[in-house]
């Protein structure tokens, strides 16, 4: 996108994107500053106000993430996590299936293959007996070989199952893990895909496994491990554990879309009310001028103060600070401390301006396994003292409403991006937004957990990373570029990593439209 340079001291707020080819973006906003911004200028804005509700159904869902580390000790394996995932989905599918595929029986994988075996055996046997009955009259009969068996038509059935994907290129953690050392925790190289043309799909349920025959309806390249699907299929009589899939339904097709967007009962109905989404601030790595610009913009001292005044909250979607990893030999404790101090100061200032929801991401100094717990207060002594700072884990589920509003709140569901990143590695799809849309269709934030994404096992009471319902806004932080679109009433947003794009996203809670705001300083 072409950036527009503005004269100094005339911060401007330019509407419209310079890149009309990119249809995914609706309206992009560029804030650019040549010369230094006024650091001290933080005029008090009359801000739009939004009330968030964390204690609702969705708020509780990630409660486990915010409790003490004691809860993170576990002894169970992942069987109940996956069992719950399948069975919660099953219940939802069961009401939708008769509508989509009327009259087709729903069967477990075992029954599918045994019925196919039985049908085949019966057919072969009938042939044997016919031969027997025909006796030796016919010269050609009876000289049949073992492999000459007639193909039998099998019953059309619906199977609800968990997808198991054969991933030939899947990195094996064992070599690292057994060899000892830190190899196991090494992050996968960013940008690398593990998709192989010959990857196959299996359908698992608690009775067994079926192999999906190669076909266009359910190609392996479009699914990841761990997704629950309902498929209309037929078993092959000659290979009863192989099915040909004729149609497929995801949980998104079986559960209602997000309810119509409620109206904000605000005093300025015509003006937008924004939630700002920003991620990947990576303090310590990012150009500090850009961070300053962001702060000034929110404060209204740079750019369009009117627009800034409409920002009701900021959600920081993870990876806020650059810390050195343990396994890096160049670990530098002093820079870690300095960076954290910078983040602390930044947050203290930002939270003084408006409510800030601080999420954690894969790179933050917080517990790593999903769902992640919030960053510990001891790391942010100053900011933690500011009431406006709301330390959250990852992912988050918020309900947003105006203070005086009693109607249905806006639901926002989001994560710091690792769920999309991991799923992306195993899909042929290159567009992150489409990957995010797929997770919405699958109604699961992180289907690849626990297989390739580290997550906590649970006791089976809930599928923590599953989506109970379609949210109004679904975002993923720390993505390479900004992208957004609407799908079935849900606003999808890829929040770009600030460190590499210097941009944030404004989502209007009235229209659910999203714009990119770019910050650029020619001083650096």
């Amino acid at each position: 996108m072409a950036s527009v340079s503005l004269p100094p001291y005339l911060p401007a707020y330019v509407l419209g994107s310079g890149d009309s080819a990119n249809l995914a973006r609706e309206k992009d906003v560029l804030v650019s500053l040549d010369g230094g911004g006024d650091d001290e200028c933080t005029p008090l804005l009359k801000r739009a106000c939004l009330h968030i509700n964390q204690s609702g159904d969705s708020g509780v869902r990630f409660a486990g993430a915010s409790t003490s580390v004691a809860a993170r000790q576990f002894t169970v394996q992942y069987s109940s996590t996956l069992y719950t995932r399948l069975h919660k989905a099953k219940a939802k599918f069961e009401s939708a299936i008769p509508k989509k595929w009327p009259g087709v029986p729903v069967k477990e994988t075992l029954a599918v293959s045994s019925d196919a075996t039985a049908a085949q055996l019966a057919a072969v046997d009938a042939m044997h007996q016919a031969e027997e009955a025909a006796g030796t009259q016919s010269a050609t009969q009876g000289d049949r070989k073992d492999d000459e068996v007639t193909e039998v038509e099998t019953e059309q059935v619906v199977v609800i199952a968990l997808v198991a994907k054969e991933m030939r290129l899947r990195p094996n953690a064992v070599d690292d893990a057994v060899g000892g050392g830190a190899g196991a925790t090494k992050l996968l190289g960013a940008g690398k895909k593990f998709v192989h043309d010959e990857d196959g799909l299996f359908l698992d349920d608690d009775t067994g496994r079926l192999r999906v025959a190669e076909g266009d309806v359910l190609p392996a390249s479009k699914l990841t491990n761990g997704v629950v699907v309902a498929v209309l299929c037929r078993a092959r009589a000659t290979a009863p554990d192989v099915v040909d899939v004729e149609d497929v339904m995801f949980l998104g097709d079986a559960t209602p879309a997000a309810p119509p967007r409620p109206m904000m009962a605000d005093d300025t109905k015509d003006a937008p009310t924004y939630v700002m989404l920003v991620s990947g601030l990576s303090l310590g790595q990012t150009n500090p001028a850009h961070i300053g610009l962001l702060l000034d913009f929110v404060a209204g001292s740079v750019g369009d103060a009117a627009a800034a005044s409409r920002i009701a909250r900021v959600i920081i979607a993870g990876n806020s600070v650059a810390t050195s990893k343990d396994d890096e030999t160049s670990a530098n404790p002093d820079s870690d401390v300095a960076n954290l101090a910078a983040l602390d100061a930044f947050l203290a200032r930002l939270a003084a301006l408006l409510p800030v929801d601080l999420m954690v991401g894969a790179e933050d100094p917080a517990p790593y396994a999903l769902p992640q717990a919030p960053v510990h207060a001891c790391l942010l002594p100053a900011a933690s003292a500011v009431p406006g700072l709301n330390r959250l884990g990852n992912p988050i589920s918020l309900e947003v409403a105006s203070d005086d509003d009693t109607s249905t709140p806006i639901t926002i569901l989001g994560h710091a991006g690792q769920c999309v990143d991991d799923a992306w590695r195993y899909l042929a799809e290159d567009d992150r937004l489409e990957v995010l849309a797929s997770t919405l269709r699958w109604r699961h934030l992180a289907p690849t957990a626990p297989d390739t994404l580290v997550c906590h096992p649970n006791d089976g009471s809930d599928d923590v990373l599953g989506m109970e319902a379609a949210p109004h806004v679904l975002f993923a932080g720390n993505q390479p570029t900004f992208a957004t679109r609407e799908e079935a009433g849900t606003r999808l947003v890829c929040v770009p990593a600030f460190a590499s794009t210097s941009s944030a996203v404004l989502v209007d809670m009235r229209t659910l439209e999203a714009h990119e705001v770019r910050f650029q300083s020619h001083y650096s």
Binding site: A70, Y78, T117, G208, P365, V454
Partner: protein
């Protein structure tokens, strides 16, 4: 037949199938009584049981039927049978006298068992082989079959096919079991072939002496066989004696052919007595007692037949049309066998679908090299595995067989999906996808069902893992223990019981192995474990390890104690066990496929001419002997029977010099080192110098030859030149090697994967055969040892290596205008390592190729020196120990082809993982990076880490297999196993298990063997490791060997005793000693602080001391350190749980039960769990 809901009505309607089932049931009582007869009764065959009943016994029944049956029986039975089901289990467990058995439902889904059995059966008999009459009929089309197994029986002569034996009560009849292209099983009874052997004709023997000789020998054999004669055996022992011109294989016979007596016996078992009579001496006519060496008298009759008729194992044979007679085959579809012995001349004698009689002259072999006759028939393969419920090693007298899984496949037809997977379980079992589950309440019926499956599927080849020494004998012993005598009929022969006998197989190449052998006539028993043990050198031969090695697949090892738990649980837990059982049956089948065993063994049988069953059960000898005799037959040569005294009497095994000739100049060579290899060294020497039994000149006869007629070998032995007589061994070798050349050329052209597999198997078999000839001549306890040949061969080899070295060093030097002096750094058996001195790999290759051609010219044909590869760099440790990077392509830009390692301790299992990983890393640094300094620095760091307790415990585990506890000397793993048994008998290792252990520091003066400890125990209790043991006993020797050529002994000394070894830390044990009195205090987590936090301050913080608390930097860093460690541990743990489940291919919905000490991930998971918990405890201190 539909089951369940229809059952009641069926019972009432009593339709035909229900009636059949009922028929089976009503006769069960007498049967049970028969089975209860004391074991040892020789004829357990139960007369009132026929085929139909056996089928009916398995017939599907359901609960209603079942209950009805139970009620019926209650009326007949005494009242103590109240709780039928309980009782059944008890009965099975204690082997109480059998009671009428009651089947649970037999099948999964709605599949009908009878139908299943029909689907498993072989294809129907094609018209041209059918005979629906009650008498023999002449087969009017050629019968072609691939020969699978071959043996003989003694039977009355056939009225039409062995007329010349009319009047003799018994003649030997060869049985050939085979499979046709259509997949039908055939048994051919071959008549008329007579056993015989040779003796040299006594001096002055004339044809007139023949009758007297025959009678004299006949009488002597008669005396020896008197007891047999009284049993109605023939009184004609020696049928015929004829004079033939033959020649001994041994030594050059200047006289050429001379008269031999061919002595034809009535029955094969009379050859041995006749032989020993001839060896001891026979007086005939007026002559003096005459003793002599016998010839070809030690050849098995079946092999004799094959040699004479030119039939090889696994070969296709054709029975000429109108020459063979088909027996009535009224049995529909074949496979319906019974335990009843056949009665009547025309009654079927085997379970084969087609039985024919034929005269031996009317069988023609088909050359596998010719056209399509290299194909492999659709033989039927059964792979099976049994599970037993036992505490410790199962004993057939006590522990029931609880599950049997069978995988049925047809060769070449069902590669990916077996024809069927069947699992039979004791007790109920939930359905399993893709498998047929058959459930039984009575163990006897389980066994009978398996027998019926074998008879019905009628496998040509039975496979499994360790079935020969475990599964098969166990089943037979168990059947005897629970009075189920009618189980033991698994062979193709009707009414013949399968028994096991102990055999000892001894071979120089494979050592002595005791094993069991069961008679499964007509079926080849191919134990994958034995085959793998024979063909591959692995560190472990458990199914788990072998599958992991070849298939990249591991099974979940279920501990004995868990097997019992799963069995005693419910239908679901038994289904889980059944899945393991199926997998254990599936893996051998997959190994069979992967390792191309069917192709390779069939081709080996075809090349060497021995039956398939000889290949596993016997050594190399018989293969070479078979080839020798085949060749000898065409040249009128006969093999003397030297017994076992042979040349071996002269001394030990190594009376001739070993092979290695040039000492290794150990060192680290960064310049390229080219290797020049002799292709097929020993075979080519034997060819070049005409080394053979038939060309060896007796010492005393040397003087009769002119020098140009003979060649003296370096050992002083003398052989005639080919111009005088071409040796048989060189001829055989030439044929084998040129056949191999052809096979390899064809292999390159072939596209069809099946034919490719056949050709590859063939070229491999030919190579192995050519190489085993030398060994045959040198085997001092062999059939025909001739050390003159073998020691001459090796002597020539040594001479050639020496010669090569001299030529290379003489030519490639500065004096001759080359840039560098070349140097031969090492010479192995058949290769020479040359350092040409040039730093360029491509140039070394060019010189290597040039030298190979040059030197080859100086040798006799067909000896050929080939340039093969260049090592750059090469680490030459000592003889037979070296490592290097291999280049074969002059274009070195793509880097080396691979790393080659010989004889270095990277794979030995009795080394701990640390040794393997350190050696690998050092080699990588030396070879790839060519950075000896980095390698030394790395080793120093590892040693320092080891001494400071920073090495991961899993790398310190050593494991040894627990074999019979008969060791006099205390072994660490044995002592540990005993201690573990005291701690918890349930999880303690049993005989046969691998026991992993680490060496912990013991008390003063304690022996190393007393200090082995269970790694899990060490982990949980923080037991200190004996670091010096790992340094001195594990790392030191292999590292010294590896590093000494590079950095010298002084450098090595520094590595093990340098400054970095001074700092030593020990862990504090959690239990024992003073720890009981220690007060637990928190120490500050601030970076580098470790100040104890006083109790009173704990209310402020359990994580930091007062000092650190005031410094935000210290707090931040303290927290970050702990968090990083905790995250790492957590991630590791999560990933390991996932990987561990993946390795065992578990359903995502079940928990992993693996507690196998043999599974590397089990320990890793356990360790990750302990580590993570430890880190979580620390994290809890930050509140």
């Amino acid at each position: 037949m539909k089951r369940s809901s229809h059952a009641a009505s069926q019972e009432a309607a009593a339709g035909p199938s229900a009636a059949a089932a009922g028929g089976g049931l009503s006769s069960k009582k007498p049967k049970a009584e028969a089975a209860a007869a004391p074991p040892g009764g020789d004829v357990p065959v139960d007369d009132d049981m026929d085929d139909l009943e056996l089928l009916a016994e398995l017939e599907a029944m359901d609960h209603e039927e079942n209950n009805a049956q139970q009620k019926q029986q209650k009326q007949q039975q005494p009242p103590e049978e109240e709780d039928a089901e309980d009782d059944d289990h008890k009965a099975a467990a204690t082997a109480a006298p059998p009671k009428p058995h009651v089947e649970t439902k037999a099948l999964s889904g709605s599949v009908d068992l009878a139908m299943l059995k029909r689907s498993w059966a072989r294809p129907r008999i094609p018209r041209h082989l059918r005979n629906d009459t009650t008498t023999e009929r002449v087969g009017n089309a050629p019968l072609r079959m691939m020969q699978m197994d071959l043996d003989y029986i003694v039977a009355p002569p056939h009225h039409a096919l062995s007329r010349e034996h009319a009047g003799t009560p018994e003649t030997p009849v060869v049985r050939i079991f085979g499979v046709t292209d259509e997949g039908n099983s055939v048994c051919a009874f071959v008549h008329g072939f007579e056993p015989y052997f040779y003796v040299p004709a006594p001096p002055n023997f004339t044809p007139d002496d023949v009758p007297g000789f025959r009678e004299a020998l006949n009488a002597r054999v008669g005396e020896a066989q008197r007891s047999a004669a009284s049993r109605g055996q023939p009184t004609v022992y020696v049928r015929r004696v004829t004079l033939e011109k033959k020649q001994s294989f041994m030594n050059y016979q200047a006289a050429g052919l001379r008269p031999f007596l061919k002595i034809v016996m009535s029955l094969p078992n009379m050859v041995a007595p006749a032989r020993s009579i001839m060896e001891r001496g026979l007086r005939f006519g007026d002559n003096q007692e005459w003793a002599c060496t016998t010839y070809e008298s030690n050849v098995l009759y079946a092999l004799r037949f094959m040699i004479d008729q030119d039939i090889s194992g696994g070969q296709w044979v054709e029975l000429a049309e109108n020459k063979y007679r088909i027996l009535p085959n009224t049995r529909a579809g074949g496979g319906a066998a019974s335990t009843r012995a056949p009665t009547g001349a025309n009654a079927p004698k085997t379970a084969c679908q087609v039985e024919v009689h034929v005269n031996y002259r009317d069988i023609a072999p088909k050359d596998p090299m010719d056209g399509d006759w290299g194909r492999i028939a659709p033989m039927r393969i059964l792979s099976f595995d049994i599970e037993c419920s036992a505490q410790g090693f199962p004993e057939a007298e006590k522990n029931p067989v609880i599950q049997i899984a069978s995988i049925l496949t047809v060769q070449g037809q069902s590669k990916d999906t077996p024809l069927a997977k069947v699992v039979m379980t004791l007790g109920t079992c939930s359905d399993i996808a893709g498998a047929q589950v058959l459930q039984f309440e009575d163990e006897r019926n389980l066994l009978r069902a398996f027998r019926d499956l074998v008879l019905c599927f009628d496998p040509d080849l039975i496979t499994g893992y360790n079935i020969q020494n475990f599964d098969v004998p166990y089943l037979l012993d168990r059947a005897a223990a629970i009075g189920c005598q009618d189980f033991c009929y698994l062979s193709r022969l009707l009414g013949v019981r399968t028994k096991t006998r102990d055999t000892v197989f001894s071979s120089k190449a494979h050592g002595t192995r005791e094993s069991k052998e069961a008679n499964l006539e007509g079926r080849v028993c191919f134990d994958v474990m034995q085959a793998v043990q024979r063909d591959y050198k692995l560190s472990s031969y458990t199914l788990n390890a072998v599958a992991a090695h070849f298939l990249g697949d591991q099974k979940e090892d279920v501990h004995h104690s868990i097997i019992a738990d799963l069995q005693n649980g419910n239908a679901d837990t038994r289904a889980r066990l059944a899945r393991y059982c199926i997998k254990d049956a599936l893996l051998p089948q997959r190994l069979l496929d992967k390792l191309m065993y069917v192709y390779n063994y069939v081709e080996m049988a075809r090349v060497t001419g021995v039956p398939l069953s000889y290949l596993l059960g016997r050594g190399q000898m018989i293969k070479v002997l078979s080839q020798l005799m085949r060749k000898g037959k065409t040249l009128s040569l006969v093999v003397p029977n030297l017994g076992h005294q042979g040349g071996g009497a002269q001394g030990g095994d190594d009376t001739y010099e070993g092979a290695t000739v040039l000492d290794a100049k150990s060192g680290f060579y960064t310049e390229p080192v080219a290797t020049l290899d002799f292709a097929s060294l020993y075979p080519s020497i034997m060819q070049a110098h005409n080394l053979c039994y038939t060309t060896l000149v007796r010492k005393e006869e040397v003087k009769n030859f002119s020098p140009d007629q003979i060649e003296r070998t370096p050992t002083g032995d003398v052989f005639v030149r080919p111009s005088v007589r071409e040796g048989v061994l060189p001829q055989i070798l030439t044929e084998l090697l040129s056949a191999r050349k052809r096979a390899k050329a064809d292999l390159k052209k072939e596209k069809d994967p099946f034919k490719k597999a056949v050709l590859d198997g063939r070229q491999l078999a030919l190579k192995v055969s050519a190489n085993s000839v030398y060994g045959f001549t040198g085997a001092t306890v062999g059939k025909l040892p001739c050390l003159e040949i073998s020691s001459s061969t090796t002597a020539f080899g040594r001479q050639m290596i020496e010669h090569t070295k001299n030529l290379v060093e003489k030519k490639y030097n500065k004096a001759n205008g080359y840039e560098y002096d070349s140097e031969v750094v090492y010479g192995d058996t058949d290769s020479v390592f040359v350092k040409f001195g040039n730093p360029d790999v491509a140039e070394s290759m060019r010189l290597g190729e040039e030298a190979a051609i040059l030197i080859t010219e100086t040798f006799m044909k067909p000896i050929k020196l080939e340039f093969e590869k260049v090592y750059s760099p090469l680490l030459l440790v000592s003889k037979k120990r070296y490592a290097g990077l291999i280049y074969t392509n002059p274009d070195t830009s793509k880097g080396p082809d691979k790393m080659d390692m010989k004889g270095l301790e990277t794979v030995r299992r009795d080394n701990c993982g640390l040794v393997r990983s350190v050696l690998n890393n050092v080699l990588n640094k030396l070879l790839y990076d060519q950075d000896p300094d980095a390698a030394v620095a790395y080793v120093k760091r590892v040693i320092s880490d080891l001494l400071q307790n920073k090495v991961d415990l899993s790398l310190l585990i050593v494991s040894k297999q627990l074999s019979k506890r008969e060791y006099a000397a205390a072994q660490p793993h044995v002592l540990l196993a005993d201690r573990m048994a005291k701690r918890d008998p349930l999880t303690a290792p049993n005989i046969g298990d691998r026991v992993p252990y680490v060496i912990v520091s013991g008390t003063k003066n304690s022996k190393m063997s007393e200090n082995a400890e269970d790694p899990i125990y060490v982990l949980e209790n923080n037991v200190p490791i004996d670091n010096s043991y790992y340094l001195e006993n594990q790392l030191k020797n292999p590292l010294t060997r590896l590093l000494e050529p590079v950095i010298g002994s002084k450098g090595v000394n520094d590595v093990f005793h340098g400054a970095h070894t001074r700092r030593v830390t020990q862990k504090m044990p959690k239990t024992g000693g003073l720890m009981a009195f220690a007060v637990k205090t928190f120490t500050c987590l601030g970076p580098g602080c470790r100040v104890p936090i006083p109790k009173k301050d704990e209310a402020i913080s359990k994580a930091f001391c007062r000092q650190c608390l005031t410094d935000p930097r210290r707090v931040t860093l303290g927290y970050l350190n702990c968090l990083g460690a905790c995250n790492e541990a957590e991630t590791r743990r999560c990933k390991l749980i996932v990987e561990h489940a993946r390795v065992h291919e578990l359903s995502p919905f079940v928990d992993n039960l693996c507690a196998s000490r043999d599974c590397p991930l089990y320990f890793a998971c356990k360790k990750a769990e302990v580590d993570h918990k430890e880190k979580c405890v620390i994290m809890e201190r930050f509140t």
